[in-house]
Symmetry: C2
Subunit: 331 residues, 2 copies
Amino acid sequence: MVKITDVARHAGVSPSTVSYVLSGKRSISARTRERVLASISELGYRPHAGARALASSRSNVLALMIPLRSGIHVPVVMRIATAVVTAARRHDHDVLLLTQEEGVDGLRRVADSALVDALIVMDVQMRDPRLPLLRELDLPSVLIGFPAEPAGLTCIDLDFRAAGEACAARLAALGHRSVALVGSPPEVYARQTGYAQRVAEGFTAAVRAHGMTGEPHPCESSPEAARALVDRLLAGQPDLTGVVVHNEPIVEPLVRAFRAAGRRVPEDLAVVAICPEEQAEHADPPLSSVAIPAEELGRRSVELLMSKLGGEPVPPATLLPPRLTVRASDR
Amino acid sequence: MVKITDVARHAGVSPSTVSYVLSGKRSISARTRERVLASISELGYRPHAGARALASSRSNVLALMIPLRSGIHVPVVMRIATAVVTAARRHDHDVLLLTQEEGVDGLRRVADSALVDALIVMDVQMRDPRLPLLRELDLPSVLIGFPAEPAGLTCIDLDFRAAGEACAARLAALGHRSVALVGSPPEVYARQTGYAQRVAEGFTAAVRAHGMTGEPHPCESSPEAARALVDRLLAGQPDLTGVVVHNEPIVEPLVRAFRAAGRRVPEDLAVVAICPEEQAEHADPPLSSVAIPAEELGRRSVELLMSKLGGEPVPPATLLPPRLTVRASDR
DNA sequence: CTGAAAGCGCTAACAG
DNA sequence: CTGTTAGCGCTTTCAG
């Protein structure tokens, strides 16, 4: 293994000079920098991560804790994760993967052992058991999602309330009067995951504000559940002409179920979804939708952490505004 | 931060004794072990990962490189990843997440900097550019997937050839004579990803061996592509009565397309899928299928690495035998 | 602008 | 069965 003293000897400088060339923490004459860099690449030098972490008390690793549970949409989690990795690499950091299963102890473990410099936590619940730890830890952290009491934390998410509002407002603007929200599975509401509730709130507020009628309906993520809900919906609300869907796996089964029940989309029924852009584009018909900005969430989480690690202040709350793209599923 | 000397002082022993209590690398009297453990938990001691890595030249971290590309099925990747993390934790290791995007350089980087002790690489191509590095590195590695030339490497995967065979053999046993394989998207074959080819080979061999007729048909992962393929298939092979599908996202669109073309499943057409168990169970009708053993692949990859790290010999190739579960989609 | 040297916290000989 | 001690490879004062 080639080490910093090897590089120093080869370049005819001291180890500290090599270190400073790499870190840029003090000015180095152009000539010695050149020589050092040449030696580094000639010898194929790569600093030992552990040694560096020990000496500098910075591991250059971020922890990302991902959810495993039912009711979450896997592709979105995956996109966020890869966006986090990509963004972290741009800032010369790596990403350690933790699962929700590890819980509070897992976070404490990687923090206390100095394995990581900062934490990103996904799938935040209203009263998340991890919050006390995140507040007391002196490692910076970012939550993707908003708990009930975000004071003292840094949170980022799509503004789901505004998204729910925007979808309902869109239906109102098209002249619909009787609408419905097909929401996340009941267990997602039950465990008080914020985004599901917030969509429902935004939807309900906009329905009221625009003088429409209609309510949120939690729905399991299975085609059968979608079909059953369609039956119930049309029985209880026969004049229904507009639907907002916020439940990725059943977006298409739902459209088919309506079709099977004699409601064509968009001729008889307007559908607006909250789902990943790609899914909306590839649906039949392509869905008017509010996109879930997975890449942006991942990237900006990392950027927030980098600012915090750099000692810069960051906004405690970042709500990404919903962007509604009109496609072919509503009119 | 509480360190090993603090624990040692508190327990009235030397730092090395604390270290040995933790590592178990030499025998400690029950009494001092008790005392040390008590001090550890009382003080909340957690060894500094960097210091430990530096002193022991073991980071206790595994790298997992996941694919990002089109044509791979995200839920399976995610399941493998979480299985790897879970298994790694059982062996007191953590997992560093790398993306395919980082390529060979990424692997070299984490290896050379001693960030990780071992590597797991997914989505292996027939002639994968990462193979030379993996062969020359002195870090243990495991490939999930088989390249054309696996000599000198440790590989594990579902036996996709046997899976293709088993599906075709099942159709043969049911008396079908004219069959087809609906395979992965063309780009997956084009980049010589082994599993797609192997399914096709196994399928073709079994078709021939059982005196049936039928061929593999690559197919894009979109419902339109599935519909188009169904049209072509029925036009060119009107006596078709059995289909093997190996393309997760279009399994259900394909069944619907056949139905729309007047072929009910399973009455007019037998369908056998190669897909995750969960997907097969929830399809309509539930699909007879060969499961993709994501959890087992992740877990056993880790176990192989642990054996290698422990200096034990491991089999160079592990092919998990296909298990066909009969459900309602064939008869 | 550069060097010398003191640790960072832990492990693993070596010594008893 | 336990203690002493010499590093592991790097960063960062302190000195010049």
